[in-house]
């Protein structure tokens, strides 16, 4: 016990990073926290507007929730494949192709999610949703829909691009194992944000 405490103190006494990780991971965590607060700001504003609004539309009537549920399922599954990619990358005994295969599956999941989101946007815009108004009720409903899903979709798109670059670099033996882990952290974060958006915007 005392020894464990001493070891912990040692880690903080300089010369090593106090967490069992390099500065890259520390920086990635800090970035995730700050990026998370960006979504907190958007979601908080959305909550504020919704509480103030007298005629917020019934989401079930606007969205096809089966489609949204499928999107959510695919994105969460892509988190699972990403976790496998990271696990395979960390395993020094595993072949590089194992991790690559999981990475490609993750990219596929992300791309499928983006495609379905593009379909959903097209569908809603066709039904009359605009940034400044919509046929269902409070104009802010569509404004917040586009800004929330737009910001999140951009994050997914960046994630897909990063993962693709990573897969190529991994195949060429340019990417490090830690690199896979960092991309994984970002990907899980983007998925987690979607869980909040799904719950707070589509379900509640």
């Amino acid at each position: 016990m005392a020894q464990a405490a001493e070891q912990m103190l040692d880690r903080w006494s300089g010369g090593v990073c106090p967490f069992e990780a390099g500065w890259r991971k520390v920086m990635m965590w800090a970035f995730i926290i700050t990026d998370g607060l960006l979504f907190a700001g958007l979601l908080g504003s959305y909550g504020y507007a919704r509480i103030m609004s007298a005629r917020w539309p019934d989401q079930a009537a606007v969205f096809d929730l089966r489609l949204i549920a499928l999107m959510t399922f695919i994105l969460i599954s892509s988190s699972a494949t990403m976790a496998n990619a990271v696990g395979a990358a960390r395993d020094e005994g595993a072949r590089r192709s194992v991790s690559l295969r999981w990475l490609l599956l993750t990219i596929l999941g992300g791309a499928a999610f983006l495609g379905m989101q593009a379909y959903e946007w097209t569908h809603l815009i066709g039904a009359g949703a605009r940034l400044d108004g919509n046929p269902w009720g409070d104009p802010l409903f569509a404004s917040y829909f586009f800004i929330l899903t737009g910001f999140h979709g951009t994050h997914v798109l960046i994630g897909v691009i990063v993962l693709t670059a990573l897969a190529i670099r991994w195949q060429k033996r340019l990417a490090s194992r830690e690199g896979v882990e960092l991309a994984g952290l970002y990907w899980h974060f983007v998925d987690l944000v979607w869980v909040f958006i799904f719950t707070l915007f589509y379900l509640v």
Partner: protein, 598 residues
């Protein structure tokens, strides 16, 4: 073979490659060396300070002599001061841009990004920031942001005019004021770039302080300067993103017809706007969620730096180091939960007002302890009144004086009367204007020898101090009383109100003092430039101080520490250890030579 670095996480040699850079461009312009980047930030910030000061000159000309015709100024600024008489719209742009430039482009750049970049790796014993390339990128984005902000003076309608807080509807409706045209759009874009740049440098600060400390540099052996940069970077990372969200939403309101901040039934220039459902209060909430922590992002480094300059000129340890660290942390936490005290008059529920009053007044506890400890650091010391020390004493004086004003403004009952008066202007100029300004000067005089290998002229430095301290105190102390008399801020023609006409004399005195203050800065600029070229050569440790940067040459070489990184054996305030001749012991001296006291 790449691997996940666990034990090898500490990249002792990170940055060693910097020494190999030879070309002028890579070394001094697109440099990844934290020292060069720090100096680039400082020079950019000083340039922006000159711009911000010139704007303040115009503001004071208008307030001191409202009816006077400034023919010469009129010729220089035909748009805003045609015939030498200022237009009200130009006045609004002046106060907006003065605030924005001074807060974001002067103090943030010089004090936080400039000195933060320069000092953190040197003081924690690292060769560079954790991610030097990101650091370089952060500077170039910052420069771009400053250029966009300056460019907004030259677009149709002029610069943004909705105040540095950019409250909608003024900032959200392009037809509301001339400055709400392209000027406001550029303001938003510039702030977005600023936030991106500030985030990059804060990420570096946090990662460097966590991961790259030299052997023996435990958290409780870090100088208060590093501690304050650490807390300030964390606050920046937590507080800025909601403003990013708000800025994007404001941009959408302006250009894409959304109504995030615009309520129904708004009439501007006799036209009913089509917006409906939004709330301008949402902007205030998001803005101040950033805005309040932001003032601590700026003032904490000022206080940390003051605590580090004191011991060098009192020859004794800073008083209550541990408590100072706890105070910095406590203030950091509290600063995140008090934003509502900027909104007491917004129709807030009295219960919320009560909470925000209480939370705000709680901040006075750690801040008072911090201030009293700074005074305690003087007690029994052998004071050497160098220029840096004078400015540091000024920091303590301003911190105390300005802090008292905060007690009134933090209290909802008193704030109802004082809100948006010159009492507020006086208060925040003492705190994020004065404490940070004096700390910036203290830091510049103190670390100038380290940065450039030459010392600044002390005699002119002292003249500069007195001509800064006295006029500054006059201007902003008097403004508190203007506020008590009911003079509102941001009024172009306050003389139109009969009850304010008797403040005319005071406004003339303030304007004269303010112009003296601004003129005195020419002494500083001359001294700075002259010392760069002709100043006395500085040795490695001219102030006989203990922190790591003083153990290397002035200016430090690329990679900072030569072949081996330093090993730290003691805290940074080992002054006048009993029974030893040298009255200071650098952090690298082993305990076999001089005993460790803390």
């Amino acid at each position: 073979m790449a691997h996940i670095p666990v034990e090898g996480a500490f990249e002792a040699e990170a940055g060693a490659h910097v020494a190999d850079q030879v070309g002028f461009v890579r070394r001094y312009i697109f440099s990844t060396d934290h020292k060069v980047i720090g100096i680039q930030y400082i020079l950019t910030g000083l340039f922006m300070a000159v711009v911000g000061t010139l704007l303040a000159v115009l503001i004071r000309l208008q307030l001191g002599w409202p009816a006077h015709q400034w023919t010469l100024v009129g010729k220089l600024l035909p748009a805003g001061m045609a015939g030498g008489i200022m237009t009200p719209e130009f006045y609004l742009a002046l106060v907006t841009m003065h605030g924005t430039i001074m807060v974001f482009f002067f103090i943030s750049y010089v004090l936080v990004s400039g000195f933060g970049n320069y000092l953190i790796p040197l003081q924690v014993g690292a060769r560079d920031m954790a991610y030097p390339f990101l650091n370089m990128l952060s500077y170039w984005v910052a420069l771009l942001s400053a250029l966009v902000m300056l460019a907004s003076f030259f677009v149709t309608g002029g610069a943004a005019a909705a105040g540095w807080t950019s409250y909608p509807p003024l900032s959200a409706v392009p037809s509301a004021v001339p400055g709400s045209g392209w000027g406001q759009t550029l303001w938003i874009l510039s702030m977005a770039l600023f936030i991106a740049s500030f985030t990059m440098s804060s990420l570096n600060f946090v990662a460097t302080i966590f991961s790259l400390r030299a052997r023996g540099m435990s958290m409780m052996r870090m100088s208060l300067t590093v501690w304050s940069f650490f807390i300030s970077a964390i606050l920046g990372l937590l507080a800025f993103p909601p403003l990013t969200a708000a800025a994007v939403m404001l941009l959408f309101d302006r250009h894409f017809g959304t109504s995030f901040f615009l309520p129904s039934g708004l009439v501007v220039a006799n036209q009913l706007l089509p917006h409906q459902g939004g709330s301008p209060l949402l902007w205030q909430l998001l803005f101040w969620f950033l805005g309040h922590p932001e003032v601590y992002v700026l003032i904490l480094p000022a206080l940390g730096i003051a605590c580090d300059i004191l011991p060098a000129f009192t020859r004794k340890p800073v008083f209550g180091y541990r408590i100072q660290v706890y105070c910095l942390i406590a203030v950091g936490v509290l600063s995140m939960v008090v934003w509502g005290h900027h909104m007491f008059v917004s129709g807030m529920s009295p219960f919320s007002g009560e909470y925000f009053t209480l939370a705000t007044l709680l901040i006075t506890i750690p801040m008072t302890i911090f201030g009293v400890n700074m005074m305690g650091s003087l007690w029994g010391g052998k004071l050497r009144l160098t220029t840096a020390m004078l400015f540091t004493l000024g920091v303590i004086a301003f911190f105390g004086t300005g802090g008292f004003g905060g007690l009134f403004l933090g209290n909802a009952t008193a704030d109802m009367q004082l809100h948006d008066t010159y009492f507020v202007v006086g208060h925040f100029h003492f705190m994020i204007g004065g404490v940070t300004l004096l700390a910036t000067f203290a830091a510049l005089y103190f670390w100038f020898p380290k940065m450039f290998g030459r010392s600044m002229n002390e005699s002119w430095g002292k003249v500069h101090f007195w001509l800064t301290f006295i006029p500054f105190f006059t201007v902003f102390f008097m403004q508190h009383f203007l506020g008590l008399q009911g003079m509102p801020r941001r009024y172009y023609a306050f003389t139109s109100y009969e009850f304010l006409q008797r403040t005319m004399g005071q406004n003339v005195v303030i304007s004269v003092a303010a112009l003296t203050l601004m003129g005195a800065q020419l002494i500083f600029l001359a001294n700075f430039c002259w010392s760069l070229a002709r100043g006395r050569r500085a040795e490695a440790n001219p102030w006989r101080a203990t922190t790591l940067e003083w153990t290397v040459d002035s200016p430090p070489p690329h990679g900072n520490f030569g072949h081996a990184l330093p090993v730290v054996h003691r805290w940074p305030y080992e002054y006048s250890v009993e029974g030893f001749d040298a009255d200071y012991t650098p952090q690298t001296v082993s305990p076999r030579e001089v005993p460790v006291t803390a």
